[in-house]
């Protein structure tokens, strides 16, 4: 076996060839960051617990992971850097600005909802931006997303209420399930019975809009999820739960991880994801969840990041123990659930691994469907040429370009692929006052590419990348799943 070396041994694999430094998009534009080799495998030798941190420049690592991608000897440089930054934070504490912007779910909760128009208005006032710039350290030109009055989960809940209304006559079991929702268990047999009854009902004319209701998952038993014995990884999916075609008699459940951005700023991305998954016959569940923890990891707040990840594990464990896959549209969230949180935070329990093993980026999942011949092909032709930027965080999944593989099945659609390594913003990096200019310089090749494409629309999987692209170029951006939903001619709620 030829697996890349584990984090603690990776250091010794570095042969100091500087390929990472040559490829690093930050070192190319700023001398505040000397390069991945210097702050990673080299400086690491001088980092000892209880001793002062030798060099602060590691804070200028954006965490894009290009270094990992190009390293010919498999040194996990970006992870070393993330840990080094956490060591600085552990020594000196989290600055207020970083504490704040790392809590994306809290910010989302505070800004989305009925108060959103007011929040958006106030946050866009020049004096507010000026204050944020000089007092907090959030760059006054940094792209800020618009908070929505109606969050994604509110939409899901509304839809559930409407949906259960439609189906009330024959779903006694379901009602019971709803009561037990919070207890998420795995009485698989009974659950299937429930679902079959529901399906019969559905077939009678309530159309195929399978509702995204956490209640569908919950069987009428009451074993709390934590008390079940840990399952060995990876689990197998029980065949009777697995028929993803819309035409099939009972739908397969799948969990959707929406992330903070879909919840508060871009509910339409989640709506498109649900539409596409339901088009394939999946019963999409949206159980409670919180921030994946990536903003906390990249701001060095490992304590809060661990808490966030373990809470997600608790929320999702009952589902993955039943073999239900978790898919997400935010490629950084899915990467965090799959790898970053376990690896960087050193969380290796069986439960954490189980969640990682069941988590897929949505297009990774769709590509697997396509490989198995199960991706629906009822596309309407789209005679368009669109620029697509694969986020650095998507490349870090190391699975090629699933979006390109899937979208190129749409007749007439042509993607022109961005040659750029990174858009620069790297989550919260590019909104920081001292890093904004670096982030914009890093993204320059991408911005040029998008401007030169002449297109009025660009595709990108990651929300912060989309905001950065639109901010820098004025070109509108979409998540590829929105385009796929359009290609399937699915109407989904667009705000």
């Amino acid at each position: 076996m030829n697996h890349p070396p584990p984090l603690n041994q990776g250091l010794d694999q570095c042969i100091k060839c500087n390929i990472c430094t040559s490829a690093c998009p930050v070192a190319a534009v700023s001398d505040r960051f000397p390069g991945p080799k210097y702050v990673g495998p080299q400086a690491q030798r001088f980092r000892r617990e209880g001793q002062p941190v030798p060099d602060d420049s590691v804070d200028y690592c954006s965490g894009c992971r290009v270094c990992n991608e190009v390293c010919p000897t498999g040194v996990p440089i970006a992870q070393l850097n993330a840990r080094a930054r956490a060591q600085i934070v552990a020594e000196r504490g989290v600055p207020l600005r970083n504490w704040l912007i790392a809590r994306t779910d809290m910010i989302g909760r505070l800004s989305a909802g009925p108060q959103a128009p007011l929040v958006n208005f106030v946050l866009r006032l020049a004096p507010t931006r000026w204050l944020a710039h000089y007092i907090l350290g959030i760059h006054r030109h940094a792209p800020l997303p618009l908070a929505r009055r109606h969050t994604f989960r509110a939409w899901v809940a509304e839809r559930r209420v409407q949906g259960t209304g439609n189906r009330e006559q024959g779903t006694g079991n379901r009602e019971q399930g709803t009561e037990n929702r919070e207890q998420g268990t795995e009485n698989r047999e009974q659950r299937t019975e429930n679902r079959e009854q529901g399906t019969e009902n559905r077939e009678q004319g309530t159309e195929k809009s399978v509702l995204s209701s956490p209640s569908r998952l919950t069987p009428p038993t009451s074993t709390p999820p934590t008390s079940t014995p840990p399952t060995s990884t990876p689990p197998t999916f029980s065949p009777h739960a697995s028929s993803p075609h819309a035409s099939s008699p009972h739908a397969s459940p799948i969990v959707y991880f929406h992330g903070c951005a879909t919840q508060a700023y871009e509910p339409h991305v989640g709506q498109a994801a649900l539409a596409v998954l339901e088009h394939h016959g999946y019963e999409v569940l949206v159980p409670p969840q919180n921030c994946c923890g990536l903003p906390l990891i990249s701001n060095g707040d490992f304590v809060a990041a661990r808490r966030a990840h373990l809470t997600n594990v608790r929320h999702l464990l009952a589902y993955v123990r039943q073999g239900i896959p978790v898919v997400g549209t935010s490629t950084s969230c899915t990467l965090t659930l799959k790898e970053e949180a376990p690896e960087i935070l050193g969380l290796h329990s069986a439960d954490v691994q189980l969640l990682a093993a069941h988590t897929y980026d949505l297009f990774e999942f769709l590509r697997l469907l396509a490989e198995a011949g199960q991706l629906r092909r009822d596309f309407r032709p789209m005679a368009r040429q669109l620029p697509y930027h694969i986020p650095c965080q998507y490349r870090a999944h190391r699975i090629g370009q699933p979006v390109v593989d899937v979208l190129s099945l749409i007749p007439g659609l042509q993607l022109s692929l961005s040659p750029a390594a990174c858009c620069g913003i790297a989550g919260t990096y590019g909104i920081k006052r001292e890093k904004y200019a670096i982030a914009m310089a890093v993204g320059q090749p991408l911005f040029n590419f998008i401007r030169q494409s002449g297109s009025d629309l660009a595709l990108c999987d990651s929300e912060t990348c989309r905001w950065q692209i639109s901010h820098a170029t004025g070109v509108a951006t979409k998540h590829p799943i929105e385009l796929l939903a359009e290609a399937y001619n699915l109407s989904y709620y667009q705000s």
Binding site: N2, I19, A27, A28, G74, T236, L335, L368, A372, H397
Partner: protein, 432 residues
């Protein structure tokens, strides 16, 4: 695991259509010169190709010149002699046609980028290294050719210039060593023109800076002053004169300074090596090759002497890849395609193929570091038949649809023999 929740049965036809997009005729493992050549050659023959690699290839560690064989005069003739004498040598396996084809492919890719490679397989060129030694090679980029030994010998006084901020490049050392070989060389350090960068001038940073007209104009003016003062006809500079527009940079410097400029390769990372890799990557992408980096191939599986599937490490799970044909271009001991296990055995890292090597670890090294015959360990590699298909210890073909190319091959010592690039392009180009 995934298969389990895909219980629905696809119609055969549907599966075929959907898969076509993600199925490859050939998957090439390794993104060095051999892998890039193979990907290009196969795409040009109409195949659908995926290039899968764990990172950037060893091009970025090499000089950016094309070494065919360390021979005094005529590399091609020397290769024919070598092939006759050593029938197992990769050059003997592939024959001269593949070498010509591979060189043509590489030269055409570089020319398209406005970065022509000059020279010929029938002539040995000698160019100064960053230590001031003369190194034999065959094809060199236009940006280096003015430093060729015959030209240096014919010309007037010679200046070797650099920057103090660029580590690992010492003009006084280079000039001194050139002087001992009879060349009238002097050295100087240039002043770094002002830019927003205050520190950390890596070859890459400098290459980017040289692509700015103002930066190179400043350097050119400094060179011009030196030329006026010292009457130099040629100036050697570190090979950092631009990444994408090197020829333009060199021409601009020549015009202003009134001297011929030549680049001297630096220790890694090598900008000229990167230019070669970029040219081949660009050509490959244009030919429809998919390139996926960061993916370590961890194992393969197949049946009846056919490799059917390989797996690459990815976040949380392995990625599966299918293809009809496979090219293994993962390099030798230097490139990481062959590793020594803690117990002392050598292994091929991607597919676990048997490695042909001296049996005992105590036979790996010659007692003399600079023994003319080299160290036996560096001949280690995958033994193949004449179609470059891997053989096991008993000499039986292991996979009929796998080709081994480049430095992963046994029976040659690419660095010592001075044939690294030649073997890479010749075996990479060879048809299966």
């Amino acid at each position: 695991m995934f298969r389990c929740f895909l219980a629905g049965r696809p119609t055969k036809n549907r599966a075929k259509i959907a898969q076509k997009n993600m199925e490859y005729d050939t998957i090439v493992i390794g993104a060095g010169l051999a892998g890039l050549t193979a990907a290009n050659a196969r795409a040009a023959r109409g195949e659908r190709v995926l290039l899968l690699a764990k990172g950037h290839g060893a091009c970025q560690w090499a000089s950016g010149c094309v070494d065919l064989l360390d021979a005094p005069e005529h590399p091609l003739a020397a290769i024919a002699q070598l092939a006759a004498k050593h029938p197992l040598h990769p050059y003997a396996r592939v024959g001269p046609a593949a070498l010509h084809g591979g060189l043509k492919l590489l030269q055409s890719a570089c020319s398209k980028m406005g970065y022509p490679l000059v020279g010929s397989p029938t002539q040995t060129l000698r160019l100064p290294t960053a230590l001031g030694a003369l190194r034999p090679t065959s094809l060199v980029p236009l940006t280096m050719v003015a430093g060729e030994a015959r030209q240096l010998a014919a010309g007037g006084p010679l200046l070797i210039a650099g920057f103090r901020a660029l580590r690992d490049f010492f003009p006084p050392l280079i000039a001194a060593n050139l002087r001992t070989q009879g060349f009238p060389a002097t050295s100087c350090y240039l002043t770094m023109p002002n830019s927003e960068r205050q520190r950390d001038f890596t070859p890459m940073n400098l290459a980017h800076l040289f692509e700015r007209p103002a930066f190179r104009e400043n350097v050119a003016q400094q060179l011009r002053a030196h030329v006026r003062q010292g009457g130099y006809t040629r100036i050697g500079l570190p090979a950092v004169l631009g990444l994408h527009h090197a020829v333009t940079v060199v021409q601009a410097l020549q015009q202003t300074s009134n001297a011929l400029i030549f680049e001297i390769p630096t220790p890694p990372t090598s900008i000229p090596g990167m230019r070669l890799a970029h040219a081949l990557e660009q050509a490959a992408r244009q030919a429809g090759v998919h390139i996926q980096l960061g993916s370590w191939v961890v194992r393969g599986s197949g049946s009846q002497k056919r490799l059917e599937t390989i797996y690459s490490a990815a976040a949380a799970r392995e990625q599966r890849h299918h293809a009809q044909h496979w090219v293994l271009a993962t390099g030798g001991i230097l490139g990481g395609g062959i590793r020594r296990e803690p117990q002392g055995a050598l292994r091929e890292t991607a597919l676990g193929l048997p490695v042909h090597s001296p049996s005992q670890a105590n036979e790996w090294f010659h007692p003399h570091l600079f023994a003319p015959g080299g160290h036996p360990i560096f001949q280690a590699g995958i033994a193949t038949d004449q179609h470059l298909r891997p053989l096991d210890a008993a000499g039986q073909i292991m996979y009929t649809n796998v080709m081994i190319v480049g430095s992963a091959l046994a029976h040659c010592d690419p660095l010592r023999e001075g044939c690294r690039e030649g073997i890479a392009v010749a075996t990479g180009y060879k048809e299966s």
